[in-house]
Amino acid sequence: MGALVQDTLEPDAFRKLYPDQYYARFVAEGLRPDGRPLLQARPTTIALGAVSAADSSALVKIGNTTVMAGIKLEVMVPVDERPQEGQVAVSVELTALCSPDARPGRFSEAAHCLNEQVSTALRSGGVVNLQNLLIAHGRAAWVAYLDLYVLDADGGLYDAALLAALAALAALRLPHVDVDDEGKVVPAGASDAAMVLEDADGQRLSAAGPAGPQPIAHLRVGSLPTALTCALYNGQLIVDPDRDEEARAHALVAVTVDDRGRLLGVEKQGGRAAADAAALQSCIAAARVRHREVASLLRQALHAATVPGYSGADS
């Protein structure tokens, strides 16, 4: 064993001194430093309901990258312009844990970008029909605060954040509620003496808690968008790069596809290499393959959590 340790030191030094060459040599062999072939994504797990204080939560890991999504439901008065719609408010935070550069407090550029990317994907995929969040026309609707926390940032943040957001939304259950004569929201079928969801201190009784209303409805999601980030490196396509590979890549292409085969977004933020049509097509094809993997993982997770959730495009 000791001899082996001695042997591994040489490549380590090479990696430290000539990181570019180290990586290029691997890619030329069709492998990556972590042992994956170029077109293989990292192992992915989806855990639902990790935090029971949230109305819905999901912990997604893609390799080391870890994103926690949690949804809190609150009641709001719909805005005047859209009296039949609720809201989904996305916010993303890169926690202090996730990388040595991240600092709490101020929103970093990366957090802002992720927020915009995830919101755009959810919107353009038509994931949530906002009218499903309505409680009473013009008087009450749910607002779903979707908070994403990046706990470990090791590349492919957008892929993981979108997956976590989607899983949390798909597992979200809406309590059945009514609006009483005074405009207050009460659990459906509850007597007048039943507790109001919002009491005077703004303390909300958890919908899932023991005292909460029992009947619930699942928020059916309209489609399942998933994303895959690919790196272009020396003319090669590298699927699902980790943080180190992202830094080394000549360009990154993130493709978002959904289960109806639609292309919801293609994003390439500049970079040293240009992507011609063939490269873009391979990225799209890779994203489709990845979608199948991830969507089946998600369905399994939802099934295990006994959430009927998504049942196809016809819903």
Binding site: D80, G138, R139, G183
Partner: protein
Amino acid sequence: MQRDLDTLLSNSERNFILKALKEEQRIDGRRPFDYRKIQYQFPADEDGSATVQLGATRVMAVVTAALEAPFPDRPNEGSLRFNVELSPMASPAFEVGRPGEAALEAMRLLERALRDSRAVDLEALCVLVGQKVWHVRVDVHVLDHAGNLADAAGLAALAALMAFRRPEASVAPGGGGGGGGERGAVTLHAPDVREPLPLSLHHLPLAVTFGLFEGGEAVVLDPSLKEAAAAAGMLTVIATTHGEVCALHKPGGIGISLSQTMRLVRVACAKAAEVAEGLRAALRGHETARVARRVCRRGAQGADAGALLDDAAGAVAVVPGLGDPGRAAAAAGGAHLDALAGSSGARNGSGGALEPGGMDSSDAEEGSRTSARPGEPRKLPRAGLVAAAAVVGGARARQGPSSLPEQAPGDNFEAIAAMIAGAAQGRPHSGDALDLQAAVKPKSGKRAKVRKWQPLGT
């Protein structure tokens, strides 16, 4: 370091400025109480934005308004907020991020001038007491910093507030909706249905800044960046056109005698009136252009939209390589971009296609100026407003490459743009598309900005 850039001055420069000042000379050739040249720009197609140029200092102000609930302590008043951002665009000394001390000072000065002096009638911004009032926000962007930001920012904010128009809002009688909703039904009227309203301003407060030298004995009006760096102190007087003083602001620096202060206040009042006159003239020009556009839009609405469609369909630019050649050739007079992008003689080739007919270059030149700076006071072109608007459109469309050499040094490339956009002789090109928009499809003729104000509670 870089951040001291704005205040850095060599001793010899400082001495030179001081010495020249003793002879009542300034380094840019002005007299001590001269302003630099003030120019105003009001974008032709939007209400509530103004760019002011004070010499090389350039400031843009944007006014936006939102109809929302009032602050609980003032249920019958709207609000007026200022936001000044000193982005690195204006000077490398400014840093990104939270507003620094200088930005806060400028913001506070604007508040004192325009809000605390009650220059804007906030009660007139109330639509429904306790329910809906206009919250007016003024964003001031400093684009280029060449000294005296206070005056330029104040002037830009004032100009934008004067140019601002908000849609008229009316409250449906009865007020009570269904159930517990005691919100009144407020209707916003689209600008092409009812004329949008200006803000009501009680007076016009203007900032006038002095740089103080030599213990306050030597004074310059509107100090440039270098003069500000050399000055021993600054004094900003906010004065109205009627000779009233709204605020005095003296941030640090040397003290000056009371008599000198009063003298400067009097100078400031006179200057404020002078500057306000220029501002009013610029706004009159803008207003005329605005009316002309509206009349044009109304006129076009009345015209046969079908004919216009046919006419416009005559000429289209086709993106090269995609449309088939036959279609491109069918585009009457349209510059085919394959020819333009071709290797040699590109300009000559397409220039031939675009040779303007019947309009000499000086007319085209005037047209281009009109479109570039509608805010400048200018003579009304030709007879009648409808005709005037038509001429503006026509002239712009007709400037072909032949008018290129005569163009203003602003490098206004509308001609080439027209060439690329494929505008042909005698028809309005896409620069006028916004006007045409109303003609072709009156309902969608609203601008994007306006679309935010949708009817509420109807």
